[in-house]
Amino acid sequence: MLFKDRWLRAQLTESFINRLGVKGSHIRGGIVDPTSRSPMNRVSDSLASLLESYGVRSIMGVIGGSIMPLYDALYYRESIEVLMFRHEQGAAHAADAYGRVTGRPGIVLTTSGPGATNIVTGLANAYMDSSPVLAITGQVPTEVFGRDAFQEADILSMVASVTKFVYQVRDPGEAVTAVDLAYRISAAGRPGPTLVDLPRDVQVAEAREPKRIPISLPKSPSPDLERVREACRLLLRAERPVILVGGGVRTSGAHDEVLALAELLKIPVVTTLMGKSSVPSEHPLVMGVAGMHGRPEANAALANADLVIAVGTRFSDRTVGRFEGISRKVVVHIDLDPSELGKNVKASIQILGDAKESLRMMISLLSRIEVIRDERYLSWLKGIRREFERSLEEWAKSFKGVVPWLALKTLRKVMPADSITVTGVGSHQMWTELHWDVLVPGTFITSAGLGTMGFGIPASLGAKVASRDRRVLCIDGDGSFQMTFNNLALVREYDLPFVEVVFDNRALMLVKHWQRFLYGGRVIATEFKRPPNLEMIAQAYDIEYSRPESYEELASRVEWAVRNDEPLIVDLLIDSESDIVLPWVQPGKWLTEAVLPPRMEVSLEWRG
């Protein structure tokens, strides 16, 4: 903060302070004392106090005219660090990642007009991935509403469909209540972003007794025991059941329960992209991510299952491909959000409840039963995995330049097990989905539902803010990098080092992939003819840069960064013509129809 600088503080004289019209009771020895509480008693001061009472330590945003009073109130809160992002979208993504790491809402604070509209993407991203974020936007004074005032934007209607809760405060007495509600709703039940819009006159109004807003927090329903019992009966009768794990398992902290159930029943576990963070990849029953670019053993497990127990997942089209395929199976769907049950897939049994609680009930009912399982199905799936790994070794020999999965394996060896891995969106993300091992649940962050390019860098900053003692790795693409790299300025400004590895294929590769295979090779607007010099960008932000020429050098450079907790940008040149992410389930196809890597000769259809 500005006034922490001793020299600057010394320049402030009492007369200067008096000219500002600030009351003198907090001045000691003629110098403004920033540790004192605000001498003013504004709604903004009450809000700053409220945020402090939650234990908020960091706020991300960009200041502007309409939000100045609240920033001014935060000036007096030394326990809250205000991080000045270079674009509001970055602040929103950072708050999103913060929320995913801590389970508490990340807070983003912006001004009205463009400041507010710039967070719409970030809020939509958090909404799609069920991430807790509280956004507070400034707004023009109430008396000029609707008259197209300077920096007026009707943010409420813009974010109405991408927020869990949104409230525009017009009565100063409701401000504290609204922010309190928004903060708690954000993290309650199924997490999600909320927004409170604060007109400037409300912020500077005199603080008063909070008025009640009769809105209650969502209730967490308890799972119905009879439904759980029936689900157990179906599970025991099934020949090839599989557990499909979504992001809800991570939110619920139910990874132990998922693995315990899988071990009890001796059945495979597959995950969605969000669910990848929910269970450790190395567990022998975890097959990996299923879906469009899913692992073949995971796709085979899901496609050939006769029963799917889906936990904390919304059955995204990217996971299941064709809904008809899944709908033909016996499905047990466990979710906390009643609107997810029956939305995409009609389950045989719907269990409304928390994942952890529901699974514990199942384990308790099943634990006394000795399950005898024909191991052929699991053996078959593991055989597919072995064949996949073999084909990758073959493919690597003909892959020009850096081989994405070998780079990922190298990075995994040098990153600590509890380090947080973030990705951007693109082919690098899909390679990471396939080949990155999550060793500790809750350490993988990606933009799954909205697929927002540019998520990587700001989310890495947010993850580092949330967990400064852990290392953060960002697997990024050059396309994603270019969208939000301006926020690299925060690395040195706030001491937020992370390792940024750019899969530099000079293209929007995933889209180019579709152009090559689905649009007759008509490549347009996906190739960077003049890519930027990443080394100079790194220098501009005083960050170390490396373009390693071998996997050993890659390991060595990243090890250095990890050991010293220093920032590093690694530029990995990937051959764009080779960089086709496989396996690939084309749109409209079933999971067993995946295009497999070259020379992988195996059927994904179970023949018994």
């Binding site: 209607s157 809760f165 509600l181 807003i213 009769p214 969502p218 009643p338 609107s339 049950l341 939305k343």
Partner: protein, 94 residues
């Protein structure tokens, strides 16, 4: 009981706390659902809003729309009813 794929008409009754801001959220939800709104009446009593509407669609889609509406924190209650309780302005005929 009707087949799940048959289109039916039902009435949805919604009670919301708030103002036009909250009514907007209801409308946004309905726009994106598969429930087709045939008629709607909204009455504002201070900061309570009562909405009655006739909707058409598959029963499963109508039920899902109601669950989605109920997920909004400002919605006190939303339910699917078989018949109207009271007049709905602009009731369609034929």
């Amino acid at each position: 009981m009707e087949g799940m794929s048959v289109r039916i008409e039902r009435v949805v009754s919604v009670r919301i706390f708030g103002s036009l801001d909250q009514f907007l959220r209801l409308v946004n939800m309905l726009r994106r659902s598969r429930a087709e709104v045939r008629s709607m009446e909204a009455r504002f009593f201070g900061r309570e809003i009562l909405v009655m509407m006739k909707v058409e669609g598959k029963l499963s889609d109508l039920e899902w729309a109601v669950r989605k509406i109920n997920s909004l924190p400002e919605v006190r209650n939303a339910e699917l009813v078989e018949e109207l309780r009271g007049e709905v302005v602009g009731s369609i005929s034929g």
